[in-house]
Symmetry: C2
Subunit: 327 residues, 2 copies
């Protein structure tokens, strides 16, 4: 049984996992959807109530029945490297590839529909609350008056994007920034704005979840850090990430989050306040982990490889298994 | 409790349903996501473990807690009518709106993630097979040799798009066409191609499903129809659609399909052969129904209105209901 990795050709994070899969002699096929219909090809046949499908990539042919798992790492845009790319060819290729893979029975890291839902920050915040995770007071609004009233109640605020990275090419991370006390919020009317109470933090926490396994890392805030340095991705500190224990209540809530979100992989960002409380900021279902593994030595890549290698569970019995159809 | 309809301003199909909602005195709010952040606005606040959200559209304000259902009819692209539209504003607005709606607890017709999955034709074909629906022999491939072998086994074929409408502006329906006997299939290598055994049909069937209710319509093929007229959308017949009985086995399979697909609405296309067998072609989760209602007098719009009007079911108890978070 083969592990299928959907990613671009150059992807050192995928390489880290592939090393472990090779060490366990698990067959791996890498496929970049961008290579449809050049270096990658597909075929699926629906006859006599049954389906037989195949993928080919880099000269290797794999049966869809023979897939144990699919890792959606960093796939390119389908058919974007075709000889004559077009929106139509991209759409046809996306539907063909992901449509067939969706009915393959393989386990997903992560299921594409669950992943799509889990990207929505407003959904994340509500889901985190429901799972009992502490969430800093947050407002997402296009009403300037709502923003002003929120700022009256929570004078120390940060602003961040609702959606994540700016869609330029290459995508640009938009830093979380502190809101100045004299902000007038009139511009809120021109686009949804996410305001959040700034947590006075003593550390950043990255909690990587792979299946049932939780791997937490912690980076203390430098003693001389300026309070405007709210975004760890852009902070000046050079301190490394260090392994951390997960408080049992957080572990329970995070597992409930993963189950409810139907995710196999998630990278949670928390901030730790002076009382030691972990405040949920977000869960990135495709978050990077290489920098954490390098700093902490935590076996994230190996854990992912183990998850991907597990045998496929027996398929559930269909409600209506009789295939009377002939053709 | 309010019904929220996401659609463009001019939508006579939505109007047909709104008439029935008004007749039952059910409050309705129409919102076109394209109107963010002009005629439409949103706000959501996450404080003390709870969420309070509001939408405003056309001067009306509605609480997200007060929504009983959301009908995703024909929503515009978020913020596309903003004063200064941009891909970034569209992404921020989409995430804000659909992210909040996803956690509102309202019933969806259809749930956006289920709808996305259900659009994939390869997934549809496999799901239909699994539910026991007869599916004509079908091949989706980028291998010319696979296409040639399939054509040897099934010499009478049609070709159709994998994905549906061509993404030009306005979108263009691509007709299903007969494959000529001397086709050489070399071009299959340049894009996924869907080939399907042509069913010699005596009628087209449109089966509209609204919740548990099945409404079937049938249009007989004209006696003098040319066998090349395979696509009912482009056929020359002027015969009206007429109400039809659903064979019990088909009804059972279709209900299994809807449950498995997690859809509340679906428009199934079948063709009926000389033996009376209904062959599954596709299930369009947002298929039009106005033309069927006009021809047959079937109460599709009223049935949709009734489904949308049903009270919200009590929310399931959370695995982890304790909201310890304060902010």
């Amino acid at each position: 049984m083969t592990v299928l990795i959907l990613t671009t050709e150059e992807d050192v994070t995928a390489d880290m996992v592939v090393v472990h899969l090779h060490a366990c002699a698990v067959p791996v096929v890498r496929l970049d959807p961008a290579d449809l219909t050049g270096g990658a090809a597909l075929s699926g046949e629906y006859v006599h109530g049954a389906f037989r499908g195949h993928l080919s990539s880099g000269g290797r042919l794999v049966s869809l029945d023979g897939l144990r798992s699919v890792w959606v790492r960093r796939p390119g845009i389908p058919a974007s490297r075709a000889a004559r790319p077009s929106p139509w060819l991209t759409e046809e290729s996306a539907q063909a590839l992901y449509g067939m893979l969706r009915s393959s029975g393989a386990r997903w890291m992560n299921d594409p529909d669950a992943a799509h839902r889990a990207r929505h920050k407003p959904w994340q915040l509500r889901h985190a609350q429901s799972c009992g995770l502490p969430v800093p007071a947050t407002l997402i609004t296009t009403f300037p008056q709502a923003a002003r009233e929120f700022a009256d109640r929570y004078p120390d605020l940060v602003v961040k994007p609702v959606s994540g990275a700016h869609p330029q090419d290459p995508p640009r991370a938009v830093p979380t920034s502190r809101v100045s006390p004299d902000a007038d919020f009139a511009a809120v009317a021109f686009g949804p704005t996410l305001l959040q109470r700034r947590v006075a933090k003593r550390a950043d926490i990255r909690l990587t979840v792979v299946g049932e396994r939780l791997l937490a890392a912690r980076k203390p805030v430098a003693a001389d850090a300026h309070p405007d340095e709210v975004d760890v991705r852009f902070a000046s500190t050079t301190a490394p990430w260090e392994p951390a224990e997960v408080p049992p209540r957080i572990a329970e809530s995070v597992r409930a989050y993963m189950r409810g979100a139907e995710l196999a992989y998630g990278a949670f960002d928390f901030v730790e306040d002076a009382d030691g409380t972990w405040w949920f900021l977000e869960c990135n279902q495709s978050g990077q982990f290489g920098f954490i593994e390098v700093d902490t030595g935590q076996p994230i890549a190996r854990t992912i490889a183990e998850w991907l290698s597990r045998p496929v569970a027996p398929r559930p019995t269909r409600l209506n298994g009789a295939n009377s159809a002939v053709s």
